[in-house]
């Protein structure tokens, strides 16, 4: 590739206050290349591509397009050059149709025929007249990609595109990216899934703590060697020990139906499950298939129609509040760290009260015992290695991984006999993820029943004893993890029924 690179970042620096998010980072993407950008959360990947897309300006360094230095003052300027970007979080209006969403982003609205034609040509079929709320997550991503492709980009930036897809949907996306490459377009592909990077990408640039560590050919590296470059040292694996996962049923959901308040939510349709003492039950599924509602009925944030719908240690609790269930030894960790598990602008000692005020003795006769809450923070900090700048900072001052360690640790330190946790390591760096998974495994080994709702299949395969899949508000039969393949789960995530096959 002796030609001039399509886009090149030279020694770009981006600072946020005292934090250096990008420290003299170099990156070049050649024409017709699929280039991976690898790194842990917080390594600076998003900052770098936001500068390439004109959303942020570098403090130092230059960006060159086809060899000429350019200033990308805003995304419009980037799009004018031929740069398109698909974000991890979609920017679609749920109540508008596919075609309307596409028209909103473009200067001239394309006809329905043109949308259909382009979407078919790239193997991403779309119906322009459907409202976005009726689309699956994978289909919504297609809308975003087609919206970019209609602008005829030379470079397409994709931010963790497969994190919301089933394995089969991801295959479809890979085929589309190959097509783009054949047409001479370039793709900058952000991911931390090393296997798919090895398969798909021509080169990979690896960032760690804001610095470029290496640019390599992923086909010549092993997943382990790239992981080492990302993390810095060998990642500790979760220690699993032989154990008995056939204790008594501690938590059960029996024929639970639930209509969500949110009109775009998913109804639960006669969902049943059982979690036994000593076992980790994994719930897989693409986001938006009823996981939020499942968490809400298990925790008691939403009450069931009948008390018998939820059973804790043989007692029907479907009409009990979340605090009554906590007093029975159950603990919960919701998916959203900020805003759900913790209040962003409250200190950690105050956030300890959010889930602990009814059970942890922080409150006596209505008065808050601040010293006790602060002591609890110290214990969680020590046991779960929560790194923070002060003894008792506001929750929003913590990094994602450290706040996650806090909100998981806050529950596990109580030694709950039942733990329900959603997305325990979502957006968390590898070190914190291992620590959290180990804590979940250890809790189960001590005889607790653990239910893990996750979109990370590798995580579920690593720590679960059995896995069930949610699809359109229904729950599959749980399958023992041994002998279960990614492909089988993938098919179940896409709605295939597994009857006698198991």
């Amino acid at each position: 590739m002796a030609d001039v690179p399509l886009i090149e970042a030279r020694a770009v620096v981006k600072r946020f206050g005292s934090l250096i998010a990008n420290d003299h980072v170099d990156l070049d993407v050649a024409a017709g290349e699929i280039h991976a950008l690898l790194g842990e959360n917080g390594a600076g990947k998003s900052t770098l591509v936001k500068m390439l897309y004109g959303l942020m300006q570098p403090n130092e360094g230059t960006i060159a397009w086809r060899g000429k230095p350019v200033t990308l003052a805003n995304p419009r300027a980037a799009r004018a050059l031929g740069i398109g970007m698909v974000f991890q979080h979609f920017s679609l209006f749920e109540n508008l149709t596919v075609a309307e969403n596409i028209a909103l982003a473009l200067d001239a609205a394309p006809s329905h025929e043109r949308i259909e034609q382009v979407s078919r040509a790239y193997g991403l079929p779309l119906e322009p007249r459907r409202p976005v709320w009726a689309l699956s997550v994978g289909e919504r991503q297609r809308v975003e990609i087609i919206r970019c492709l209609l602008q005829d980009p030379k470079l397409l930036i994709l931010d963790e595109p497969t994190s919301v897809l089933t394995p089969q949907e991801a295959e479809g996306l890979f085929a589309t990216l190959e097509t783009l490459k054949m047409e001479g377009r370039s793709v900058l592909y952000i991911s931390h899934k090393l296997e798919e990077v090895k398969r798909l990408c021509d080169r990979a640039t690896i960032l760690r703590h804001g610095k470029r560590i290496a640019t390599c050919d992923p086909k010549r590296e092993s997943a382990a060697s790239m992981a080492r470059m990302m993390v810095g040292d060998d990642v500790a694996a979760v220690r699993l020990v032989e154990h008995d996962a056939s204790g008594p049923v501690r938590l059960a959901l029996v024929d639970a139906d639930h209509m969500p308040d949110d009109p775009h939510g998913t109804s639960l349709k006669s969902v049943s499950l059982e979690v036994r003492a000593g076992e980790i039950l994994g719930i897989a599924g693409v986001a938006g298939n009823g996981q939020d509602e499942l968490f809400a009925v298990l925790s008691g944030e939403r009450l069931c129609d009948r008390a018998e719908n939820v059973v804790i240690d043989g007692v029907p609790v479907g009409r009990e509040t979340i605090n009554a269930r906590r007093k029975r030894g159950t603990a919960f960790v919701p998916e959203e760290r900020l805003g759900h598990a913790a209040a962003p602008r409250f200190r950690l000692s105050v956030n300890a009260l959010v889930s602990g005020h009814a059970t942890n003795g922080f409150v006596r006769r209505g008065f808050i015992d601040r010293a006790k809450a602060l002591d609890w923070v110290d214990r969680v900090t020590k046991r779960f290695d929560v790194r923070k700048g002060a003894r008792d900072p506001e929750a929003k001052a913590l990094s994602g991984g450290n706040l996650q360690k806090f909100v998981v640790g806050r529950e596990i330190l109580r030694n709950p006999s039942i733990l329900v946790v959603a997305q325990p390591t979502w957006g968390v760096d590898a070190g914190a993820a291992t620590l959290i998974r180990q804590a979940l495994v250890d809790l189960a080994r001590r005889g607790s029943a653990v239910l893990v709702i996750s979109q990370d299949l590798d995580e579920l395969l690593e720590i679960s004893d059995r896995i069930a899949v949610m699809y359109h508000g229904t729950m599959s039969m749980p399958q023992p993890v041994r002998g279960l393949s990614r492909e089988t789960i993938g098919l179940m995530m896409a709605g295939a029924r597994l009857g006698a096959a198991a």
């Binding site: 979340i322 209040a343 105050v350 005020h357 808050i368």
Partner: protein, 357 residues
């Protein structure tokens, strides 16, 4: 080119205290300009407004008398606003409290009674204000009606009800057809704390409410619940707090405090029911709640300051022949600058130029 408001990462506690101080200074500057434009000497006018009320004991008492209803209401409103319940109708709840309390004073008029009359009036006023405050709360929790609109509109309902009562069924039969009730008997008047002047037991009540409010908000689980519901509703649900029940609670509580304020206004300041009993205490309290950082102690400080402008405004009417509306304009300035300073404290302004693509 466009102007963008960007959230600041970090806001210091110092800035949170400094912001209302800057707002007060800007209000003084804007007021001085206004007086100059009206052809008055700005310094003389400002000193009439802000210094003349502090120069004799009688005026200082008047400041406390005027501050009492404002601070009582502002403490209640702070609880509402902290929990994301926008009660704008305290003025109506005040009037309804005065009607309920006034009813007790009128039916005990001219019959054997005792020192229990005034406490019963306070209880009746609390009940009236609380029930009237619950109307927008129920409409919000049951039907999703916007409480800003409903609570504001209900102010007119209460005011017109009072107007009808004093012109109709409750009119003093010996009052020469003036639209007013009988003068309350001594048992129905608030206890005076001093021989000369109007300082009354309500000032003590105000201090008790401020301290109780500060303790509840700072130390108790209930205070935590109020703040959590306002700050992070999903986290509040996760904590097992019922946001609908809290909406009912804070509306009832702030209505009850406004009701007490209403009883104090009629029994300590006026001594009877009239078509109009409040110079807008319920609306002024909104300014006071924000100026006081939604903190009970802050409300006390801000309420005394606003009361100063009321008394100063009366002096300006007498000595400078300035209309009472100038006082309203002053208070408007103050709210505007408080909100502006808060916005600039929480956000920074960035000017974005369109780049040549």
């Amino acid at each position: 080119m466009r102007i963008v408001l960007e959230k600041r990462d970090d806001t210091s506690a110092f800035a949170a205290v400094l912001s209302p101080v800057i707002a007060v200074l800007l209000t003084l500057v804007a007021g001085a300009i206004m007086f100059a434009l009206m052809g008055k000497d700005p310094l003389a006018a400002l000193s009439t407004y802000f210094l003349s009320p502090l120069q004799d004991w009688g005026s200082i008492q008047e400041i406390f008398v005027a501050a009492t209803p404002i601070v009582l209401i502002a403490v209640g409103l702070s609880l509402c606003y902290l929990s994301n319940n926008w009660n704008i109708g305290a003025e109506g709840q005040l009037v309804m409290g005065a009607i309920f309390g006034g009813f007790v004073a009128i039916v005990t008029h001219g019959v054997p009674n005792g020192p229990w009359v005034f406490p019963v009036m306070l209880l009746a006023g609390m009940l009236g204000g609380a029930l009237f405050g619950l109307v927008p709360a129920v409409l919000k929790t049951r039907f999703g009606a916007n409480e800003i609109l409903t609570s504001l509109m209900l102010v007119y309902v209460a005011e017109l009800l009072l107007d009808w009562l004093v012109r109709g069924p409750w009119r003093d039969p010996h009052g020469f057809n003036f639209p007013q009730s009988v003068m309350f008997e001594p048992e129905a008047l608030a206890l005076r704390l001093v021989e000369t002047g109007r300082l009354h037991v309500g000032a003590l009540l105000m201090l008790v409410v401020v301290i109780a409010g500060a303790v509840v908000m700072g130390r108790t689980l209930k205070g935590f619940e109020v703040r959590l519901v306002g700050e992070a509703p999903r986290a509040a649900r996760f904590a097992g707090f019922d946001d609908k029940r809290l909406t009912l609670t804070v509306f009832a509580l702030s209505g009850a405090l406004a009701g007490i304020a209403g009883v104090l206004v009629v029994s300590a300041q006026i001594g009877q029911l009239q078509p109009t009993i409040s110079p807008g205490y319920g609306f002024t309290a909104i300014i006071v709640a924000f100026l006081g950082r939604l903190n009970p102690i802050g409300c006390l400080v801000a309420g005394l300051f606003l009361a100063l402008t009321f008394i100063g405004g009366e002096n300006a009417q007498i000595f400078l022949r300035l209309p009472l509306d100038v006082t309203r304009v002053f208070q408007g300035f103050l709210l505007f600058f408080v909100l502006a300073c808060d916005t600039l404290m929480l956000y920074r302004i960035r000017i974005e130029r369109e780049a040549a693509a």
